[in-house]
Amino acid sequence: MNRRVAITGIGVVSPIGQGRENFFNSLMAGRSGIRKIEAPFAHRLAQGVGGQIVDFKTEEHFPNKLKSATLDRFSQFALVAAKEAFADAGLELTDAQKERTGVSMGTGLGGNVALEECYDTLFRRDQSRLPPFTVIKVMNNAASGNISLEYSLQGPNLTYSTACASSGLSIGEAYRQIKHGYADIMVAGGAEALLTQGTITAWEALRTLAPADATDIAASCRPFSKDRLGLVLGEGAGIVILEEMDAAKARGAKIYAELAGYGTSSDANHITKPHAPGQARAMRTALADAHTTAGVAMADIGHINAHGTATQVGDVEETSAIKMVFGEAARRIAVSSTKSMHGHLMGATGAVEFIAAVLALQQQAVPPTAHLRAPDPECDLDYVPNIGRTGVLLKAVMSNSFAFGGSNAVLIAARV
């Protein structure tokens, strides 16, 4: 079975705004949400800079304390994004449809906040008693499980944990569930909340985090810039509603785009170092899929939301991979790294960036790569430096997610 897949709903919780409109407006304005991390442990951090969400109020979204007590911060983000996406799609599911609707989520560390609180109680405060909901808050599939529960979705209930590619993969695999007939509707995306002392400090130890920029902390993450100094961790969630195309059209749904292609590959090269040939394989697989599925030609790709983490090695490898795949034509593609503004949302980043690409396609507007002060000679594509572009003719867009562990996920969306 080879069915086509429509994107009919979008929800976002991000460091640059709650909701898809605030999110995309911030992107187009080049507005960064990267800031000094506010936390009791902030004085212990070497860098202390992150894409921290400071305007998310748990009690506003979850007034019932029994409910909120079961939800780690990452599940809260996921449920809020799912609510927005459902409302946006205007779906009212029958009982039969609920049995054919599933969830596919990505996360790197799941309930990291609850896990750290548990360790704090045991190890630092030397106590032996933990809140009963610790297990169900911490588990990696808590977000997908809670979404399934909230909307009574009884089809596949999946969670992918492939580090930075988690939610590129979760959306791609959700697409395949519909394409190959295992489900008719999928709620797909990712959620992450890992700005905890343990996780940030562990990342600092790996020496991949950018220091706080001395003059403008919001400009600490500078993908493709010669003076880039590393990635900045962030938190949030992104959710898309995927539907079988004919059914979406039949119900008169607003269709953002077609999810036209998906490719995944493994570098099988190094546990952390990105590898252009592996990335290129994922891009080529996605392009071949988009061509077969929706007739998308390579020349139709006008915009790539890059993985673009702002590490020295990563940005050069991705640039190289794009050139391997597109050849000379790579130079006419607008390549943006929106991580310059929202940071690296780890397990949520693939979803949030795919959403950025889909909204760019829908609005024919390309967000910039912010803080691109001085181009790196080894990064020689059009990175849309500092200023977004409107009135751009886009037929199809690509979103790249490349992970530690070697997992690569590439998604392609095309105009309907």
């Binding site: 029994l66 079961t70 809140p131």
Partner: protein, 81 residues
Amino acid sequence: MSTTLERVQALLADKLSLETGKLAPEAVLTELGVDSLAVVEFIFHVEDEFKISVPDAQMNLKTVQDIASMVDKLKADQSVA
């Protein structure tokens, strides 16, 4: 000084976001939406509130009064001082 029952009722209203008016002594926990998982969560707060330790064997609680009675019994058993 509030009775144990009143303190249990207040704690149920606060920690589980339940309406005070529905928390009669004979009210059945499952009918209040307090399932077995929620009972486990609530007992955690009961232990804090009353400075007692609730053994796993005590978890067969059906009504609001059952919780208050359990608390009184455990307080008597555990108040060595």
